[in-house]
């Protein structure tokens, strides 16, 4: 009964979605001519190069034009970790009983992971350092680093992600982000304003505060994701 009802509903939802998106032609140029700057995208494409000296427009948007979104997004992650911590909160006295659910891995996996982990971390760092130049950025880099940690976490049963370290990284990265924003507010009167000189396009050191923020975001994301994974993996065994 319920299933039939749901299927009918889903058919209708599908119908409406199709209907709606049939009006939005795939691959159509909705930006228009960039020189007219009628809409936001066109403006971004047209002005990013000159005004921010960032090669990757998406990065420019994420970190600068819509940097506030990103700040919020980082906050969401931070809050998710905090929330997770509070939802799966363990008292001190319960700490000892905590076990990682994963089975102990074979030594092959363990050794492999140990070799792979620095490489993965390096890749991640590369991705977020070059976030303003190439595809990728803080989130992607952070996610890659977290994958490395995940690898370590599931292959070593007693691998500790280092809570203090995570807190430090997390907080400092966050503080950096906000402080840079506030610095902009202080010096130029606008929160997150790009106060540093833009530099030359396609150089590693270019784009003013954008790479700095992205690096901070990268660290933060890495720390948060690792934290989340760490919490979710550590579970008190049931009796």
């Amino acid at each position: 009964m319920r299933k039939v009802f749901v299927i009918i509903l889903l058919i209708l939802v599908g119908y409406f979605l199709t209907n709606t998106f049939s009006l939005i032609t795939f691959g159509e140029n909705r930006i228009g001519n960039t020189s007219e700057e009628k809409n936001v995208a066109a403006y971004y494409l047209n002005n990013t190069k000159e005004k921010t000296s960032v090669a990757n427009v998406v990065t420019a948007i994420v970190v600068n034009y819509r940097g506030f979104d990103t700040l919020g997004e980082v906050t969401v992650l931070f809050l998710a970790t905090t929330g997770l911590g509070s939802i799966l909160f363990r008292r001190k006295e319960d700490e000892d009983q905590i076990e990682r659910i994963s089975k102990p891995s074979s030594s092959l996996v363990q050794t492999g992971s140990r070799i792979l982990f620095p490489l993965i971390a390096l890749l991640g760092i590369y991705v977020f350092i070059h976030g303003h130049l190439t595809p990728g950025g803080g989130f992607q880099g952070g996610a890659i680093i977290a994958t490395g940690f995940l690898l370590m976490l599931i292959s070593y049963k007693n691998f500790k992600a280092g809570h203090t370290m995570l807190i430090w990284v997390e907080s400092l990265a966050g503080i950096t982000f906000v402080t840079i924003g506030l610095w902009g507010l202080l010096t130029s009167g606008s929160f997150l304003e790009n106060t540093l000189p833009g530099g030359e396009l396609n150089n590693l050191i270019s784009g003013g505060i954008i790479p700095i923020i992205y690096i901070a975001v990268g660290f933060k994301v890495a720390a948060e994701l690792t934290g989340v994974l760490d919490i979710l993996l550590n579970i008190k065994p049931k009796k």
């Binding site: 319920r2 009802f5 749901v6 509903l9 889903l10 209708l12 939802v13 409406f16």
Partner: protein
Amino acid sequence: MNSFFLILLILLAGAAISFALGKISSIISGTVAFLSIASASVLFFTQLKNNTYIEFPLGEIQLQWGIDSFGYIFALIVLGLGSLASLYSISYMQNKERTGIFYFNFVLVITSMVGIIFSQDFISFFIFWEIMTWSSYLLIIFNKKDVKEIGVKYMIFSAIGAYSMLTAIVMIKGNYNTFLISDAIQAGAFNFTNNEYIPILLLIGFAVKAATMPLHVWAPKAYSNSPMSFTVIFSGAMSKMGVLGMALVLVRIFTFNANNEAILPNFSPIILQQTLAWLGAITAVIATLYALMQDDAKKLLAYSSIAQLGYITVGLAIGTKLSVMAALFLAIVHGIFKGALFMVAGAVERQAGTTDMTKVSGLIRKMPFTFFTALIAIIALAGIPPLGGFVGKWMLYESLITESNSYFLVILVFFSSTSAFLYCYRFLFGLFLGQEEEATKDVKEAPITMIIPMLILSVLLMVTGAYPGILFDPIAKGMETIGFNNVTWDMSVLGNIWGNSVNMIYVWLTIVIVFIAAFIFLTLKGLKGTRYVSTKDISTSGEIPLEHENLTFQINFFQPFRRAAAPMYKRSMDKIWNEIGSGLESLFNFTRKIYTGNGQTYAIFVIAFLVLMLLLKDTLFLN
């Protein structure tokens, strides 16, 4: 400072201080309450001149306060009865718990009633009305008896009333763009033919407080369960606020229609008038029938109050000069005698511990003054000449018969008032007459602060009986304020010269002369030979009961009557309302089953709603 504010401030301060002092001593707290009410009364009657108004804005609404002759009538009831009741409650509330809360709400009720009288705009009227409602609610449940049933019922009905009033008020604002009562009247808001619902809604609102028929079910228990010193106000004065409102609206409806009869061939006002009058009469009958079946004196009085309010409603609904005058006169007199009776009940309750008439009897020797008050008040209540109660009843009948041709209504009203003798007698007999109970052997007369207000009220009843003109004076002025023209006291002369005080004096003279003569004769004759014996000495019926026996006939007192009138007891409004209530409750219980507790179901709701909206989007959002 403006006297209006000053009076309210004194009262509010009195409320606050007596609340604060409640923890320390109930006597001090009560004295403060009494002093504040008394001083406010003094201020009111000395400082305020009729037809003075002030205006000020609050919440972006222009408010107007003032006092006119019409409000003055009710101010007499409220402040007079309020002062006496607060004096009375000093002793009544002595040694009780939570007196602070009691006095706080007590004074607040008085304050809000004074506020209602002051209000010349609907908003402050409604505000004070609601304050009155909730503060009285707190007093009703003060005794912690049947709290849920009584309190909630009271609140429900009050809310029904208040909200229909509020609806009317905002509709007046919507249609006529004014909150001022006078402007609304000017604009014809009460004009029944233009918009029938505004006056009807207002009337529903007032009818609840006046305990008119289908809306009366809250009243019996609410009256009987609140502390008696408050019921004095509750039944004596608060219900009159409903009367005030009804008079205000009804008079407008009828005078308007009377003035425009030629233009408006519309019978709806007459239907309304008749409906309301019949409702009032039926209220009176039903309440009377229930009153005489009560074993608890307080409940008896409570039902009796409802019945009396029924007469007042009839009078107002008929809407002729004489009937309105009768209604207003009855309103004042009812305040006096019902106040006195509730005071009596309170005194008995305080001294004897209960007002259950099957448990108390023969108090006449212990509490002579209380009995005297009860006697006088009951005579007035029954409408027996020569007290004030009679004057009102007489005018009511005269107006019904001579002015409005509602003959069948008269029969109903008369039936009610004849049956009222039964419970009147029951009250006196149950508490004061009959053989004395062992349990009430050591009962003493109530303290002086309770006796004084009672005696004052009984004297007032006699005075209003002998000189009804002293009440006709303000009533006539008040009626002229609300739209009657040329209200003369002589107007009550309808082929016979009643209503004018001279004739009441004749009645008094006759009665007094006969009384004195007969009294002297009976007392002096065989003065020495007469033996004064206890109520146990009833040798003439053949058997002398022992000391511990009590032969007083109290249980199933009016059983023959009940058997005769059995069909009338079959249906009670209470049951009907309870059925409606429980029906609604189970309906609501069903609606909340929507929240099944299954998160997935909620999710399906969301998607289903989304789909529904998408299906309907064109009809809904295409403009």
